[in-house]
């Protein structure tokens, strides 16, 4: 009898707790941390989505900028925050790269519970408008015949673009001279001024130059062509499936250990927000394509991404002390 009562009590309490969580959250404002200064692309994307999410939650969600360490300061802060659903992190592929490339990184990918995948941006392999290379095959042929001669720029060491370049080197069996610049703008100058032969750059940084003819896009690192550039081939269709599947992305992480009911509630709010046409078109304006991914898929995606980037980093010796 006693046993029965205690079992019942436990059952009742746990059910009650579950219900209470589902009902009681959120009771105060939720803060979503962005690892970059206000006004940047990541910040803008976070604000676009947050504005919409706010329509589906009882309490306001506030964007808080905590720049530093290439977004690692904010990531670390959220990883160590109380897992109650009131502290979230606007994660990007950079967060995963940091856990891969820096052996002393203070947070691990397992410190986070991915909630939703929101957008991505493909990379483009570009050359100068009047370059002798017209197709990606031209470029690879040249690199094969002249090992280490071809100079290829990226917006930075350990950027997703750098990972893309390492994938291409491996998949195409070429050796090139990697020149890391500091950001997109110097990378664009590098290509347009002929300081490097080619570059891996984000679509948004080069879109206008490809349209205006000052740059040639050779291929995109996606599996499907994008509507904006129907004539731009993808690496996947050129026979490089791995290089044809690397892009920058963004989503939302909660600290791991956040109650399932809370994650569920946030997930639903994000799903509704991501479905709104307003969010899709506004994200497009700043250069991202909206690609909604639910909690389960996103969790799987992030883990796969971590595994894959780790392999690239190890084989290309990108891990730094």
């Amino acid at each position: 009898m006693k046993k029965a009562i205690s079992i019942l009590t436990v059952l009742f309490l746990s059910v009650g707790a579950g219900v209470a969580w589902a009902v009681d959250y959120p009771t105060k404002p939720i803060t979503i941390f962005v690892g970059y200064s206000a006004g940047g692309a990541t910040d803008t994307a976070a604000r676009i989505v947050t504005n919409q999410v706010n329509k589906h939650l009882e309490q306001p969600m506030v964007v808080n900028n905590k720049p530093g360490g290439g977004s690692a300061v904010a990531a670390d802060f959220v990883a160590k925050a109380k897992p109650d659903g009131y502290t979230l992190f606007n994660a990007t592929i950079t967060t995963v790269i940091q856990t891969v490339a820096n052996p002393n990184n203070p947070f691990k990918i397992s410190d986070f519970a991915p909630i939703v995948g929101l957008y991505n941006m493909p990379l483009v392999i570009v050359v100068k408008g009047d370059a002798k290379f017209n197709t990606i095959e031209d470029l690879i042929d040249f690199a094969k015949k002249n090992p280490n001669k071809l100079t290829v720029g990226t917006p930075g060491v350990n950027s997703v673009h750098h990972f893309g370049l390492e994938l291409l080197k491996k998949e195409a069996g070429i050796e090139v001279n990697h020149i890391p610049f500091q950001g997109d703008a110097p990378g664009v100058v590098g290509v347009m001024g002929g300081h490097v032969d080619a570059a891996f750059l984000g679509l948004v940084a080069v879109a206008e130059h490809i349209k205006g003819g000052t740059m040639k896009g050779l291929a995109m690192t996606t599996s499907k062509r994008v509507p904006q550039f129907p004539n731009l081939p993808t690496m996947a269709e050129k026979g490089f499936p791995k290089t044809g599947n690397i892009f920058s992305w963004g989503g939302v992480f909660a600290p791991s250990g956040t109650p399932a009911a809370v994650l569920e509630k946030l997930s639903i709010a994000y799903q509704k927000a991501a479905a709104s046409q307003e969010v899709v078109s506004q994200l497009e304006k700043v250069g991202f394509s909206a690609t909604y991914m639910g909690a389960k898929d996103f969790d799987h995606f992030v883990k796969e991404e971590h595994k894959r980037l780790m392999e690239i980093a190890q084989s290309a010796q990108m891990i730094k002390k």
């Binding site: 006004g39 940047g40 720049p67 002390k321």
Partner: protein, 498 residues
């Protein structure tokens, strides 16, 4: 005459009442954030950005651009009045501007920086209208080797910057280079001197260092001396520059404008280096270089013209290539995209309203800023009559808020306090802060450019001499360094002969 038609069209857009209002609003906010130490144009633009989404793209860009170039007007105010730079680009203005204020010439110093900024801004807009495409092409020619040579040329300025002991100036420059190398190495991705502190991964910010080294230390020194001198006791000799001041400054302003504009169009060059370069050049060309640092007006006029022209020049790569050259223009670029405008080679064709509207607004904006700033001089000077016991706590508070608001990071407040004590001791031990700041700005750019160049050339130093622009810049640097030696040599010969 196509250009004139376009400019007229641009004016038609700006002269619409709403756009005029937003232009004025931008200039006003820009002046105010420029005056506040630490809080600069990037923060102000980012903060006001969300409020612009419901405005028309033309009005919004006119306003945000106004904040950007307007902040360059205000930056000099606190440099001159209390020896605390409002922006990093106004560090050199402290050197002579504050001395002028000490001599009761705060009015002329503020006046000449307003006029200098106006002249630079206006000439800059003219260059922008007529020479954008060729200058954009020139900017693209600057690859890593050209940057490296340019930075070497910049470092030669160091030798003109110090007024005391050269050895001490060089020690400070070394310290600046070391501080600049803290953080993630941009070429190899390795962490340098970060001691596993996340906050150091991005390096030490220039603003907390500048605020600490100049602002906090100055307040500490004054407090230590005891606030016996309750207010500035020297009487004010006029509020506006005299005819003689104008004659002393005219070439300085023109040269500052050209240097500033040129460095402004280079992505990565920018207003900070331009202001230092102008100071160095004026000292080099001056008939009385020994007086620099004691309150000469051309040492205020040149750098202030340069940093303003630099901010105008930055619009060339932004509007014609879609390339931001500093944090503030990077945020502007983001704003353009949200408005559905794609800066780049096609902007002028696809959105002539925006392109010519913004440029014309810059011309009007400069006029507004001049009208706005001249009466303000009287008000700013009156601030010096506030007792120090009340003025100083407020200066410290605004520096704290300004530094915090950059990254919402309390670590930067601690860095500022640390640099405050460093700057305080430096003044006690007779060291100057300006070479440190210049080296901290130039160092990382120079190092990255050197390593990128050598990666491109696969180890050959010839890359710096086989490219014409790089060769010219390198040659100029060497000539500038050798000139003083040549002078000494000639004197020795004439002495030996005589």
């Amino acid at each position: 005459m196509e250009i004139l038609d376009s400019v007229l069209h641009g004016f038609q857009i700006v002269l619409q009442p709403a756009n005029l209002f937003y232009c004025f609003l931008g200039c006003l906010v820009g002046t105010l954030v420029g005056v506040l130490p630490g809080l600069g144009a990037p923060a102000a633009i980012a903060l006001l950005l969300p409020g612009t989404f419901h405005m028309s793209p033309v009005s919004a860009t006119i306003m945000l651009a106004g904040i950007y170039y307007g902040s360059m007007y205000g930056g000099s105010t606190t440099s001159i009045l209390v020896n605390i730079p409002g922006e990093t680009a106004s560090v050199v203005t402290c050197l002579d501007g504050y001395k002028m204020a000490r001599q009761g010439r705060a009015g002329p110093a503020l006046g000449i920086s307003a006029f200098g900024s106006f002249i630079a801004g206006t000439i800059g807009v003219f260059i922008l209208v007529f020479l954008s495409p060729p200058l954009a092409n020139l900017a693209i020619k600057f690859g890593p080797p050209e940057y490296f040579s340019l930075m070497i040329l910049g470092l030669t300025i160091l030798t003109f910057l110090t007024k005391g002991s050269m050895v001490k100036g060089l020690i400070m420059a070394c310290l600046g280079l070391i501080l600049g190398s803290i953080g993630t190495d941009a070429i190899s991705g390795m962490y340098r001197f970060t001691f596993n502190q996340l906050i150091l991964y991005d390096g030490i910010g220039l603003v907390p260092v500048t605020m600490g080294l100049f602002g906090v230390s100055e307040v500490l020194l004054q407090i230590e001396e005891g606030v016996k001198r309750e207010i500035f006791q020297t009487s004010f000799k006029g509020l506006l520059p005299t005819f003689k001041d104008w004659m002393d400054c005219k070439w300085a302003m023109l040269r500052g404008t050209l240097i500033g504009f040129f460095l402004g169009i280079l992505p990565g060059g920018g207003a900070v280096v331009a202001s230092f370069a102008s100071y160095g050049l004026e000292k080099k060309l001056s008939k009385h270089p020994e007086k620099f640092g004691t309150g000469v007006i051309e040492a205020v006029a040149g750098p202030e013209s340069a940093n303003n022209a630099g901010s105008t020049g930055a619009f060339i790569p932004l509007l014609t290539l879609g390339l931001p050259s500093n944090v503030a223009t990077a945020i502007l670029l983001g704003a353009f995209m949200i408005y559905g405008l794609q800066p780049g080679p096609l902007l002028i064709k696809n959105h002539p309203d925006v392109f010519w509207g913004v440029i014309s607004s810059m011309y009007l904006g400069n006029v507004m800023l001049l009208i706005l700033n001249l009466p303000l001089i009287g008000i700013w000077v009156k601030f010096l009559k506030i007792p120090y016991a009340i003025l100083f706590p407020f200066i410290l508070l605004f520096s704290l808020i300004g530094v915090y608001s950059l990254n919402n990071s309390v670590a930067e407040i601690v860095i500022m306090a640390g640099c405050g004590i460093l700057g305080y001791l430096m003044k006690k031990f007779d060291y100057e802060g300006a070479p440190l700041i210049l080296a901290m700005v130039l160092g990382p750019m120079m190092e990255n450019a050197l390593r990128q160049s050598l990666m491109i050339s696969r180890g050959s130093f010839l890359i710096f001499f086989t490219r014409p622009i790089s060769l010219i810049l390198f040659g100029t640097a060497i000539i500038l360094l050798l000139l003083p030696l040549l002078g000494k040599f000639r004197r020795k010969i004439t002495m030996a002969a005589g």
